[in-house]
């Protein structure tokens, strides 16, 4: 088979007639020929002419073919320059020497033009293959370098975004492999304006940059909406809608979201496709498992998306432990998975929460033997109310446009109550008043509390005393969901009035509902043991030191903020 294209062939042969004959055979096959009479000439000609293939007589004067082959191979470096030894030797030893010296094939005398053409053709294929492999290797190395560089840049940018949150809070402990982001893992935490804490542990499908690109918009929504005081439900809906809109069909994000309310001693949970999280007692016992009950973010259309969350009690010192699937999916040499059982054993054996991550990592190493780059662990401790100092938001406007003399009344009827939470919008508006900004955390808490009182106890008629233990807690929120879905009439009215005063101003908030009202004296007189989880939020409002009144037999709450 002739070579595809003419090659430059170096022929080194000391016999003049043999050289003449061989040169003619090779030339007739369409190649360019350079000839040498001995090994030394061959090496010099190789350096000068850089032929593609060498035909080398084994036994030559001055320098024999074996030595010439070694030198030519050394000069050729990584490129394959095939050497075919020409020999009338037929002893095994001689042929072995040819190959050991770097020869790729040999050719016996007398020469056969047909066999030589076939050999040159075969060697040319090898040569091209090697050239292709080298080319692809170099290209791969370039791409790899490029990719690493992109990842470095993306990581630097992303680290800035991710760390604008409150992951460094004293109640959060977390561990992430350095390039976990490029395995799709994402961990975010931020304080809400009322001092609650939102935490998100997410896991995008895929690896590398594609897995990381979705993280930016997701973080943007998470931080933006948390800072504006939106609850988990609104934030979840927005994140799902955004990912659904921008991600390709086969990409989505498993996520576990938490809202830790330090004031209320509760944790609100939504888990879509992440491994079980754990609610732990102060001593580390598992109180309950936070299972996935939803599809991941970015799959369902907004109208099908299920934003139902679970609200669980979590008292100061109790913890929530979250992990990515890299932990339970770690495999050993026999492809067995680390699994939930082994994780539970580690949790059960843990005595010092500070050592938990180390213990998990050690258990993984003992099990799989291979360190992984897709591990995220997060341990969040419930703090005492006011025990953490949220970072104060920075405002960029001058305050000259503060509106100081206005009033507003907003009435939400049944259909709106089902799907809309007006509090973040109102708070956003109230942020325009400079004098209120120092008390914005209290304002968030009070407005949020009074609104949910009006909705849950007033409109829905739920009894807060249900919430005196964990089981009742779950029952309470199940019932809330049931009644809200069935709601056909009722309203909550929110009235705001802002008045300028001598040196500052005053905000009056009135929230009234269509419910049957309640006996304020009786609720406030309840024993302290009931106050933890129930009490219509009155204790919370009182504790925040706000002037509060209940009018119309408890159907209308009025609070005032002065500055």
């Amino acid at each position: 088979m002739p070579a595809e294209q003419g090659l430059r062939v170096l022929i080194a042969e000391d016999g003049a007639a043999d050289r003449l004959l061989l040169a003619q055979i090779v030339r007739r096959q369409g190649h360019e020929v350079v000839t040498a009479e001995n090994g030394e000439q061959a090496v010099a000609l190789f350096a000068e002419e850089r032929p593609d293939l060498v035909l080398l007589d084994a036994l030559m004067p001055v320098m024999d073919g074996f030595e010439a082959a070694r030198r030519i191979k050394a000069m050729a470096g990584e490129a394959l320059v095939p050497i075919i030894f020409l020999t009338s030797m037929n002893e095994e030893q001689g042929l072995v020497r040819c190959l050991e010296a770097g020869g790729d094939d040999f050719m016996a005398k007398p020469y056969s033009a047909v066999i030589l053409a076939a050999k040159i053709g075969a060697m040319d294929r090898l040569r091209r293959l090697q050239a292709t492999v080298l080319e692809q290797r170099d290209e791969l190395a370039r791409h790899h370098h490029h990719l690493l560089n992109e990842q470095r840049v993306a990581k630097a940018v992303f680290d800035k975004v991710a760390h604008s949150g409150c992951l460094r809070s004293s109640n959060i402990r977390y561990l992430q492999s350095p390039y976990a982001l490029f395995n799709g893992d994402l961990l975010l935490a931020a304080f809400t304006p009322s001092g609650d804490m939102h935490v998100l542990l997410g896991d995008f499908t895929g690896h590398g940059l594609p897995a990381a690109v979705g993280a930016m918009p997701l973080a943007e929504v998470f931080y933006g909406m948390t800072a504006k005081g939106y609850g988990l439900v609104e934030t979840l809906r927005e994140m799902n809608a955004k990912l659904k809109r921008i991600l390709p069909v086969d990409m989505f994000c498993c996520a576990l979201l938490l809202n830790l309310s330090f004031e209320r001693g509760t944790v609100e949970v939504w888990n879509g496709g992440m491994p079980d999280g754990y609610r732990l007692s102060a001593a580390g016992e598992v109180l309950s498992v936070l299972q996935s009950r939803h599809l991941p973010l970015g799959i369902l259309a907004p109208e099908q998306f299920d934003d139902r969350t679970d609200i669980l009690p979590l008292t100061a010192g109790e913890r929530v432990f979250l992990l990515s699937d890299g932990v339970v999916d770690t495999g050993d040499a026999k492809d067995r998975l680390f699994g939930v059982e082994r994780l539970r054993e580690v949790l059960a054996a843990n005595r010092d929460p500070g050592q938990l991550f180390d213990e998990v990592m050690q258990a993984l190493e003992r099990f799989g033997g291979v360190p992984r780059d897709d591990i995220s662990l997060c341990d969040i401790r419930m703090a005492e109310p006011g025990g953490l100092a949220p970072v104060a938001p920075v405002y960029s406007d001058s305050g000259r446009s503060s509106p100081l003399d206005w009033s507003l009344s907003l009435v939400l009827h049944a259909d709106s109550l089902k799907r809309f939470n007006p509090v973040p919008y109102l708070l956003q508006f109230l942020q325009e008043i400079h004098g209120l900004r120092p008390s914005s955390a209290v304002l968030h808490s009070v407005l949020g509390e009074l609104y949910s009182n009006a909705l849950e106890h007033g409109v829905l008629g739920l009894d807060s005393r249900l919430k005196q233990d964990a089981a009742g807690f779950a029952e309470y929120y199940r019932e809330r969901g049931r009644r809200l879905t069935a709601l056909s009439e009722g309203f909550v009215r929110i009235a705001l009035r802002v008045e300028p005063m001598a040196a500052g101003g005053r905000l009056t908030v009135e929230i009234s509902d269509s419910g049957t009202g309640f006996d304020i004296e009786k609720v406030l007189a309840r024993p302290a043991s009931e106050k933890g989880l129930s009490g219509r939020g009155l204790h919370l409002v009182q504790r925040l030191g706000v002037r509060a009144q209940w009018l119309d037999q408890g159907r209308r709450a009025r609070v005032e903020f002065g500055w």
Partner: protein, 115 residues
């Protein structure tokens, strides 16, 4: 010329491959062979003799001089077995065979040049 000296198939192949260079190939072989023959005679030890016989064998076989190639191979094998006595006979046979080969290739050259 009988087939024990020359393989005529090889020769006709050579003529086809070499085209216009056929005569030059014949001349080169004849000149080169004279040199190789003198190397055989001047060899100072068994190793040199073996090398010379080996090279001569290779070029003879390429040219279709099968008788000469066969004798060279015998010589190449013989020098590996000491003592070398009686080896002169083999060298003499090679000399005689080359005379035949020389005569044949010269006439071949004349024939081709004339044609």
């Amino acid at each position: 010329m009988t087939d024990e000296h020359i393989d005529h198939k090889v020769l006709s192949d050579l003529r086809e491959v070499m085209e216009d260079g056929y005569v030059q190939l014949l001349e080169t072989f004849l000149e080169d062979s004279v040199r190789r023959l003198s190397l055989l005679h001047e060899a100072k030890d068994a190793h040199e003799l073996g090398m010379a016989a080996h090279s001569f064998k290779g070029s003879s076989s390429n040219m279709g001089a099968v008788g000469l190639a066969g004798l060279c191979q015998q010589l190449e094998e013989r020098v590996r077995q000491q003592p070398l006595y009686g080896i002169e006979d083999l060298i003499n046979q090679i000399d005689q065979e080359f005379v035949e080969v020389q005569r044949f290739y010269r006439s071949e050259r004349e024939r081709v040049s004339a044609g």
